[in-house]
Structure formats: C-alpha cells, structure tokens
C-alpha cells in the first residue's frame, strides 16, 4: 500500500520529495486539486470508493497516514 500511495502522489505531484513527507507535512503541500486527483487515482487503482467525509486533511497528513487510512477503507 505504501508503494501505491507513493506512486500515485508522485504521478500527481512529481515535484515533491516524498521522503520528506513520510510522517508529516504532506497535507501542507497538497492543494485541493491535488487531493482530488490523488483520490481519483487511488480509487481507480484500488477499486474502492473513498467516502466523501473522509477526504479531509487529517487523512492526507503524511504518506504513512494515507496508506493506513486506505488499508482501513479496504477492510
């Protein structure tokens, strides 16, 4: 899951150095369009629907928190 998240974010924002955002500060550098793209790409890749109310900055706080959130979505 971690690698999928990294690949998706990298495809949307190739300018980001994701090693800096493993544990925090990811939401600070993503804008709303980035998040829309990331959600759409993750939904397509994972075959899931991310609930609207879960598309909040807390779940995009870091690469690890996003991966953890997606794991929970898939349970």
């Amino acid at each position: 899951m971690h690698n999928i998240v990294v690949n998706v974010i990298q495809s949307v924002r190739p300018d980001l150095i994701l090693n800096d955002h493993e544990n925090d500060n990811l939401a600070d550098v993503l804008n709303s369009l980035d998040i829309v793209f990331i959600v759409d790409e993750l939904e397509n890749k994972l075959g899931i629907s991310i609930p609207a109310e879960k598309i909040v900055p807390e779940n995009f706080e870091s690469v690890n928190s996003l991966a953890e959130f997606l794991r929970a979505c898939m349970k």
Binding site: V12, P14, N31, S32, L33, I35, V36, F37, D40, S49, P51, A52, E53, I55, V56, P57
Partner: protein, 354 residues
C-alpha cells in the same frame, strides 16, 4: 432553519445563456498545469466548455433579454409581475440594485416591489425562500425570481482554481399562488464565520478598487490573481460541502417524512462532477437521479446552476405529471439550503441563447 410552505408553485423557468463558448483546451496555456494533468482535469473536474459573456455584457443585459423573449412568445405577461427578486453577486452597479435597472429597462409597472439579494451558489434556494415568503404575505400574487451571475468578469485569467469552471448565465423563475399545490419543505443554514472562503476582496467599502488592487500576485499554487478577482479557498469549500450537504438532505427528508426513493430527482448546485459524484455516493442516490453534467457543457454558473439543470436536463412535458424534486444549493456565505417540492404543469421550461 426549517421551512414549510403550501399553495405555491413554480410556474415556469427560463435559462438565459450567452452564445459565446470557450473551451479548456484553448485556454490551458494560461494555467500553471503540468501538461499531463489536462486530460485528467477534463475527466474528473469537468473542465471543458463554458459559456461566458463579452467584456461589456452585464447581468441586467442577460435578464432583460430573457424577459423580453418570454413576453414576445406570449409565455409571460410582464404587467402581472408583483415583485422582482434579483439574486446576484455581479450587479451592474454598487448603487442602485440591479432589480431597479431591470424594472426600468423592461418598463414594468411602478406598482411593484424590487428586491436585490447578494447570494451565490445557494442563491436559488434563498431566492425561492424569499419569493415564497412574499407570496405568503398575501400582498403578492406573482413573483419573478431572477438568478444571474457574470462571474467570468471577476476571475483572473491565470487562476486555475476558478476560471476553468466559471460560466455565466441568468434564469427567470416565475412563482405564484397555486391552491392545493405542495407542500414544500426546506431548510437553510448559514456559517458567516467562514465568510472569506469565497470572496472578492476589493470593490466594496473595505478595500476600494484602485490601480494597486488590479495588480496580480502569484500564490503558492501558481495562481495569479489580484484583489479585484474572485478568490476561493478550495480546501475549505470542499470540506464544507462534504460535511454539511449530506446531513442537510437527510434532515430535509426526515422532516418531510418522504422516503428518499420517492424523490424523482436531486438537482443540486453544480460545483464540479467530482464533488457531485461524492455527494451521490454519500447520499446513496443513483447517479441517474442526480444530474451532474452541467459544468462540462456550460460551466459552473453559481446561483443559476439549479435552474440551468432544470432547463437543460428535462423537457417541459416531463412535468405534465407531478415530479418530486429535491433542490440543494451550497456556497458563498457560507450558506447551504435545500427544498423538496412537487413540480408540475410548467408554462415554460426552456433555454434562450443571447
């Protein structure tokens, strides 16, 4: 705020669109998008075609053309309008209100009420609430509700957050007393603490327009805009819509006692297809019941988007039978509101291009 009306009805709806169409493909060079994102933006956010006015066309121009067309075709006797409620964020002037300009240009009777409301994406709900309330006073028999915005004139050329989806349009909705019609359920909420989530900083009395307010500055996302331009906090608006709109609709349905399955269509403000898709999922409403294709065709026309969907997605004859429609608006203010009402026997439901 819970709302309930009875014995009032929508008599007809006319959409007025500028003929001038621009496409995202033609404008994409203006924005700071990586080239590979363009196709995705069209697909996910609906960035495609939109209707915009020429630089000298005002809100009253669109509305006057709409009324003149209705009168010329014998669909509306302008002399029977008791009140003109104009909902706009883009008035012709700060003073006077645009309703007076429209009244004067059309030569409407002096014996009437003209009222201007500054509202945007919830403006159709707020406007209907106002129009029904006027009818409820007993002093008015027929109210013309106008929603109009030419927001394209307020967005910066290089603002990729707003410009690719903004469309201009006007609508005229005639509401009147109709014995036995209804009931109409509704609700309205306001969060003025977040008034700056959608705004134009300069132009009012707080910051007067000047040479300085016209100078663009580039933000962290590469959007260049001036204080004279519309600015939207995309994250805040997205979160607001996702948090507040689904419970608003659920509360409306609970208040009415009407099952979700009994609603024929959910016609919501059209921010972009992504947000509408998410709302449909959250509300567990079939996508065929929730139109979400206005933005790619005409753009997001703020308070006009709900009547724009009514006029462009449905035939008038569809309402020969009563249809239960759930309308929802949300945006500037912040404001969110919804109405659940039967719609039937419309005298007109059409689109005029000017």
């Amino acid at each position: 705020m819970r709302i309930r009306f009875a014995d009032f009805a929508i008599r007809g709806v006319q959409l007025v669109l500028p003929t001038h169409e621009v496409s995202f493909d033609d404008e994409v060079g203006s924005y700071n998008f990586p080239p590979h994102q363009s196709a995705k933006l069209k697909l996910v956010m609906g960035y495609d075609r939109r209707r915009v006015v020429a630089s000298d066309v005002t809100s009253s121009d669109l509305v006057v053309a709409g009324f003149q067309d209705l009168a010329a075709r014998g669909l509306l006797d302008l002399d029977t309008i008791d009140a003109l409620v104009v909902v706009t964020q883009t008035p012709d002037y700060l003073i006077p209100g645009t309703s007076y300009i429209i009244q004067g240009r059309l030569g409407l009777p002096q014996d009437m009420l003209c009222l201007d409301l500054n509202q945007g994406c919830a403006g159709y709900i707020v406007g209907l609430f106002t129009a029904f309330s006027l009818l409820g006073s007993g002093n008015f028999r027929r109210v013309a509700l106008v929603n109009v915005d030419v927001v394209s004139r307020l967005v910066a050329v290089a603002d990729r957050n707003s410009r690719p989806i903004v469309g201009d349009a006007a609508s005229i909705t005639v509401v009147e007393a109709a014995s036995g019609h209804g009931p109409i359920y509704g609700n309205l909420k306001v969060d003025g603490k977040n008034w700056d989530a959608l705004m134009v900083p300069a132009g009012g009395m707080k910051i007067r327009p000047s040479l300085q307010t016209a100078v663009p500055a580039t933000d962290a996302n590469g959007n260049a805009r001036a204080l004279d331009n519309l600015v939207m906090k995309g994250d805040a608006v997205f979160n607001f819509v996702m948090q507040e709109v689904p419970p608003m609709i659920e509360a409306l349905l609970a208040d009415s006692g009407i099952a979700k399955e009994s609603v024929d269509h959910f016609v919501f403000h059209q921010p972009n297809p992504f947000m509408l898709k998410k709302l449909a999922e959250k509300l567990e409403v079939a996508r065929c019941k929730m139109p979400m294709d206005l933005v790619p065709r005409y753009g997001n026309s703020s308070g006009v988007s709900i009547p724009a969907v009514l006029c462009s997605s449905f035939e008038r004859s569809y309402f020969d039978q009563p249809r239960l429609m759930c309308l929802g608006g949300f945006g500037v203010g912040l404001t969110w509101g919804s109405m659940l009402m039967p719609v039937r026997d419309l005298a007109f439901l059409n689109t005029l291009e000017v």
